[in-house]
Each structure stands twice: as C-alpha cells, then as structure tokens.
C-alpha cells in the first residue's frame, strides 16, 4: 500500500466541527439549487453558445428549459461549507463533479441557482498552468505565480520557499522541457502551495507524483485546511476518508448523498459500481474449463455484503476436462484499486473435490473455499479465480472479477487489512 505511511490515525482526521452558535459570516461557500446543462452535440452546442452570448450581452436571463440534445450535468445541488470543513466530492465518471468545481471556481456560469463564495478562492485544479517548456524553471515560476494571482513582488519574496519546496534548486535555470514529469508537478505544486486561500478547491491533483511528494502535498493541505474550507474531488476513497469531514456524492448530476457521515457516502459510492463480473483474462485452450456457477455465501447478488470478521465462502461449479484432474485452484482477492490483497491456494486437486464424471471426458466439480474471519477493511473487493496444472505452472484459466463483495465495518481506514490484535 503506497499511502500506508501517511496514515497515522485510525480514524480520518476529525476537523473540529462547527458548534452551531457562530454567526452567518462563517459560511464561506453557500450553494443553492445549483444546476448546469450541457449539450451532447458539439455543433449544436456552439450554436447555443452564440445564442447565449447574445442573450448575455443584451441582458436577457438564461432560460431554464432544456433545448434539443441538452441534459442536466448538475441538477439542484445545494450545500454550505464553513471554515475548517472539508467536503469530499465523490461520484463516478460523468457524475458532474468537474462541472460543479468549474462553477464554484467561476469558470462557467450556472444555469439555475446561486453560488456565494465569501473569501479568497484558491484552486488546485491544474498544476503548472501556463508553463512554457522552452523557458527556464525560474521564468515559469513567475508566469504560473502571476496566473494564480500573486504579484511579482510576492513571488520575489516567496521564490526561495518555492525552490526549497520543489527540491530542484539545480534545475531552476534549465528549460522546463528538460524536466521529468515528476519535477514539473513538483514545481507546479510548490508554487500553488504558497496560496493562502479561504476556500480551497482540489481536483485529483494528488494522483500524480511519488510517495515523498504526496506526503508533502498532504502536509500542505493539512496546514491549509485549518484555516480555510476545502472542496476535494478524488476517486481515491482512502484520500477522501483521510481528509474530509463531509461528503457529497453525485450521480448523474443529482445529489445521492450529502452529510457528515463520510463512510456512509463511501459505501454508497462502492455499491454503485456497475456489474462487470467475469472477465476472462486468460484461457489456455477454449472449452477446457467452463464456469457453470459461482456464488459468495450462497448468494448470487452482484455485490454481496460481508461483515468484517465474518466468514466468506466462495463457491463454484466447473465443467473441466478430465485430463486436468490433477489441477489446482487458487483465488486472489483484489481491492477496489486493483491492488492484490491476498491469495489462497487449494490444498486439494480437482479430482479430490466433490465431482461427477460427465460424458466420459469431462468432470463437473462442485467446490467452495471458506475464508474465516476475514479482516479486510471496509471497501469493495473482487475475486479472481485461477486454475493451473500445478502451483508453479502457468495457469490454464484465469477469470478476473468473477465475483465482487463489499466488506462492511464500523471503521473507515486506509490500510486494506484491519488486523485483529490481542491488546494487553
């Protein structure tokens, strides 16, 4: 687990919650019934653009009906954010997260509703905007800094801090095109880290960079969160649970969940994952093995819920060529980010399972494997089934994602395993 180092607390950092008696001024972001429509067809979208521009210029207000090919990318979203709060914005691709962020950042106009931003807005949406690859690192610091709203004097003052943070002092006079992509991101973040916003908008920028860089980014964000409110978009549920005090889950532009219970939002996010079971990744010879049935704890739901420290029984029914009666089976469990969590080999050969001979040449095998007291942490996992002639030989068959299951737990933690311990 590459982020494991960063997790020092079991529970996500609890930002001090608002005590309810402070005045209205504390609300930094207020979004009311916000909606935005987009057009699927580019040609038509451009033409609507011409119409909208003329409407805007002649002072007509926007109509809130959908024209042909239009759809609501964001619909009726309302929330408030106070200083010290961090809102995790989650949802699958195309849920409207980026559209919402762009409206909050003032890049595009809402079609309905209202946004009120009280304070300086800082956006970590793109690092190193405006970099010209031919120019030196130093020159680009000034360009990017001024795009972010710093004055030249401010950049003069912060320049040393930026170079320190980026840790690339020897390259500041070299053209940026000679930088590695990691160095570019470092420099970009170093500049952005100098912002002192009241409202911070972060969109997936932490997905890049090496571990030490990510650690640094989190330190900066932790420092910033104390003084401002944050809207954070990420597909990494670990990052969301680590940073956020509130969660907003979007689905097709609508709010699916909004509240302080971040872990519940994450559960909804995982439950929403579409059914894509049983992708054949490898088959040595077609027809050698056929999967007739699989289940988890005798259930054939798309996403079986399993309690942490409960038993997980994976059952299967195969039709397999009689030549493979000596073969062995293994299952691998992957977490939601496709990292392998563990593997379990069968201690039986195919012929030792409960099997019947069918048509002389094939066997029908009914088997199962029970993993008792599974100590996986909360999240969605998938099972990959592998059949090979022996433990060390190449597989005969490999089926990814043959079944998915979701582990429910009271805690929401970063590590994949929530170990049982005997504390004395």
């Amino acid at each position: 687990m590459k982020e494991a180092k960063e997790q020092q607390t079991l529970q996500p950092t609890q930002v001090p919650k608002h005590n309810g008696q402070a005045d209205e001024d504390e609300v930094l972001v207020r979004v009311e019934n916000l909606s935005k429509k987009f057009c699927r067809d580019l040609k038509r979208s451009l033409w609507y653009g011409v119409q909208d521009i003329s409407g805007e210029v002649f002072g007509r207000s926007k109509k809130d009906t959908l024209r042909k090919d239009e759809f609501w990318a964001v619909k009726d979203v309302s929330f408030e954010l106070r200083r010290g709060e961090c809102l995790g914005l989650i949802g699958h691709n195309g849920a409207g997260k980026s559209t919402l962020l762009k409206m909050l950042n003032g890049l595009i106009k809402p079609d309905q509703g209202r946004i009120e931003m009280n304070g300086r807005v800082g956006a970590l949406i793109e690092l190193g905007a405006g970099f010209n690859p031919v120019l030196t690192g130093r020159e680009n610091v000034y360009i990017n800094g001024q795009i972010l709203g710093f004055t030249k004097k401010e950049i003069d003052e912060k320049y040393d801090a930026i170079v320190d943070f980026a840790e690339i002092p020897d390259f500041m006079e070299a053209p940026v095109q000679s930088y590695s992509s990691g160095m570019k991101v470092r420099l970009g973040f170093a500049i952005a880290a100098q912002m002192e916003p009241d409202i911070l908008i972060i969109d997936e920028v932490l997905a890049v960079g090496d571990i030490s860089f990510k650690l640094k980014c989190f330190n900066v964000i932790d420092r910033l969160i104390e003084k401002c409110c944050v809207i954070f978009v990420s597909h990494s549920m670990q990052q969301i649970s680590r940073l956020c005090s509130h969660a907003l889950m979007l689905g097709k532009g609508n709010i699916k969940f909004l509240g302080e219970d971040v872990s519940q939002a994450i559960d909804i996010y995982y439950t929403d994952i579409k059914d894509q079971n049983g992708a054949f990744a490898f088959e040595r010879k077609s027809g050698e093995v056929r999967i007739l049935d699989t289940h988890i704890n005798s259930s054939r739901e798309n996403l079986k819920l399993v309690k942490r420290l409960g038993d997980l029984m994976f059952g299967f029914q195969l039709e397999i060529s009689a030549e493979l009666e000596e073969a062995v089976i293994a299952v691998t469990i992957y977490d939601n980010e496709q990292r392998p969590v563990g593997i379990c080999f069968s201690d039986k050969k195919i012929k030792e399972f409960n099997s019947i001979v069918y048509n002389g040449a094939t066997l029908i095998v009914n088997g199962s494997v029970t993993l008792s007291r599974i100590n996986l942490s909360k999240g969605v996992y998938s099972i990959t089934l592998i059949i090979s002639e022996s433990e060390s030989s190449k597989p005969v068959l490999r089926v990814n994602d043959i079944r998915k299951f979701q582990v429910t737990s009271v805690r929401d933690v970063w590590p994949t395993l929530e170990l049982e311990g005997d504390w004395k």
């Binding site: 987009f38 979208s45 451009l46 653009g49 011409v50 909208d52 521009i53 409407g55 805007e56 210029v57 002649f58 002072g59 007509r60 207000s61 926007k62 809130d64 762009k102 409206m103 950042n105 003032g106 890049l107 595009i108 106009k109 809402p110 079609d111 309905q112 509703g113 209202r114 946004i115 009120e116 931003m117 009280n118 304070g119 300086r120 807005v121 800082g122 956006a123 949406i125 793109e126 905007a129 405006g130 010209n132 031919v134 120019l135 020159e139 000034y142 360009i143 001024q146 795009i147 972010l148 709203g149 710093f150 004055t151 030249k152 401010e154 912002m195 002192e196 916003p197 009241d198």
Partner: protein
C-alpha cells in the same frame, strides 16, 4: 493574492448588475496588466529562444511585400506614380503601416489562443490574454518604427515636425486593428472559420487600401475607400511621417475616437461571453 471579498454567481446576465461588473473590472485591472505583460514576455521569449533571426521576423513580411512592389514598379509592370516622394519610401512606409493594422487585428485572437489551455482550468482576468496579444503588437511596432528610421536615413528623408504625430498614428492603427480583432474574438473562439476568414480578408483588403498606391481621387475605388476605416488612418499617418499635407485629419480623429469606444465595448462583450465560451471549448 487577491483581496478577500464576496463573489456571487447567478444565471442572470452580468449586465443586470452593472456596478458589480464595473467594480470587478476596475479591481482586476492591475493583475490584468501585470499578467498580460508577463504572458507577452513568455510568448516572446518562447518564440525567439527557438529562432535565429529573432525579432527580425517582425520586419521581414512588410519588407518582402515592399520589395515586390518596388520591383514591379521599377520594371514598369505596374505604373504607380506618387508625387513628391520616392516610390520605395512610399511603399515601405505603407506596408509597415498596413502590417501594424493587420497585426492589431490578429493580436487579440492570437493572445487568447495562446492561453486557451488555461481558460478552462484557472480563474484569472481573461482580458490579460487580450492584452498579451496587444503588447506583442506594440513591441513589433517599436521594431518597425526603428526600421522606418533606418529607411529615412537611407533615402535621406528629413523628418518633419509632423513626424512625431505620425508616431501617434501607429497607436491609432493598432487600436483600430485590435478593436476589430477583439470584437471578433468571442466568435473566433467558437468557430475557427473566423480566423481563416480574417487571413483572407486581410490579404485582399490591402489592395483596397492606399498602401502600395496613393489615394485615388475619383472613380469606384475612391468611393469604396470612403467606407474603409483603415484608409484615412493609413494615409494620414503616412503623410504625417513624411511631412505631407493631411486632408483627412478629421476622419482620422473620428475613426480613432470610435475605435476607443468600440474597444471598451468589445472588452465588455468579451468579459460577458467568456464563461459561455469556456463551457464549450473544454480543456
């Protein structure tokens, strides 16, 4: 960093709140200029750091055009007679002035195109992209003025007192050009037909403007030229530079004044249109 303040976004047109619109504009002026200048430097350095001839590129196009016409006229292929001044001097000044106008037209669209990738990602005063384009035009004009000085020396043309005012004429040509460019920018961001169209129109508009020939006194061409706003600016500026009489002076001022008004109007339209455009150009 920008000052802390309350920002409200609603679907209604920015014109419904003219005070807020104006206050926002005035407030962002310093950053607009500073960032525009920085982006101009970026584009300029980026361009010339990968070039051997560097800034000479800004005087090569008018020189090439001039040489063609000097040659054609010298060979009597065309017969253009300009009274009181040598033809080469006349045509070099003319093409430089035309180039100034044409670069002015392209400046705003060029500036915005070079910063297009940032538009959908970052909130900054978008007028700075327009300014970066115009600053580049001004920079190129300064080089061209240097070239005119050299040409004056080469042709032993004594500068008149009015030559100083002629330099102001450059400002008017840039202003007229960038006003046209600015008014076209919103549409040019949506449809690339506009940029292609600009290139073609400019290519043949040079022949409908007294650049390589003096102003016609009568006929269809003379009538057409009355509707050409570049013509009075260009002839007046040229005449001021060489110290010739300037009969079109009042039209010169009218056109310049109208340009100022339209330029401000163009900035307003640009500001209002930008969110709608950004929505459609993506990143």
């Amino acid at each position: 960093m920008q000052k802390a303040r309350r920002i409200v976004y609603t679907p209604e047109s920015g014109l419904r709140q003219p005070k807020v619109l104006l206050a926002d504009f005035v407030e962002s002026l310093p950053q607009m200029h500073a960032l525009g200048y920085r982006l101009f430097l970026r584009n300029l350095k980026g361009m010339y750091r990968q070039s051997l001839l560097g800034i000479f590129w800004s005087v090569i196009p008018p020189l090439v055009t001039s040489l063609i016409w000097i040659f054609l006229n010298g060979q009597r292929v065309v017969d253009i007679d300009v009274p009181g001044i040598s033809y080469p001097l006349f045509v070099i000044i003319g093409t430089i002035l035309w180039q100034t106008f044409a670069e002015g037209v392209n400046g705003p669209v060029r500036g915005v195109t070079m910063g297009k990738s940032m538009l959908a990602k970052i909130n900054f005063p978008r007028e700075s992209l327009i300014l970066s384009g115009i600053y580049e035009v001004i920079f190129n004009v300064l080089i061209k003025i240097g070239l005119i000085a050299l040409v004056f020396v080469a042709f032993q043309q004594m500068p008149a007192w009015s030559t100083l005012f002629g330099l102001l004429g450059f400002a008017s040509l840039i202003l007229l050009g960038s006003t046209i460019g600015l008014l076209l920018t919103p549409l040019a961001m949506l449809y690339n037909d506009i940029q292609k169209g600009i290139v073609i129109v400019l290519q043949f508009a040079i022949y409908l403007t007294p650049v390589i020939y003096p102003e016609p006194k009568s006929g269809l061409a003379a009538q057409l030229m009355q509707f050409n706003p570049v013509a009075p600016l260009l002839t007046t500026t040229r005449n001021l530079l060489i110290g010739a009489p300037t009969p079109n002076l009042d039209t010169f001022f009218w056109v310049s004044g109208a340009s100022v008004v339209l330029f401000l109007l163009g900035l307003l339209v640009y500001r209002l249109a930008m969110p709608i455009i950004i929505e459609r150009i993506g990143s």
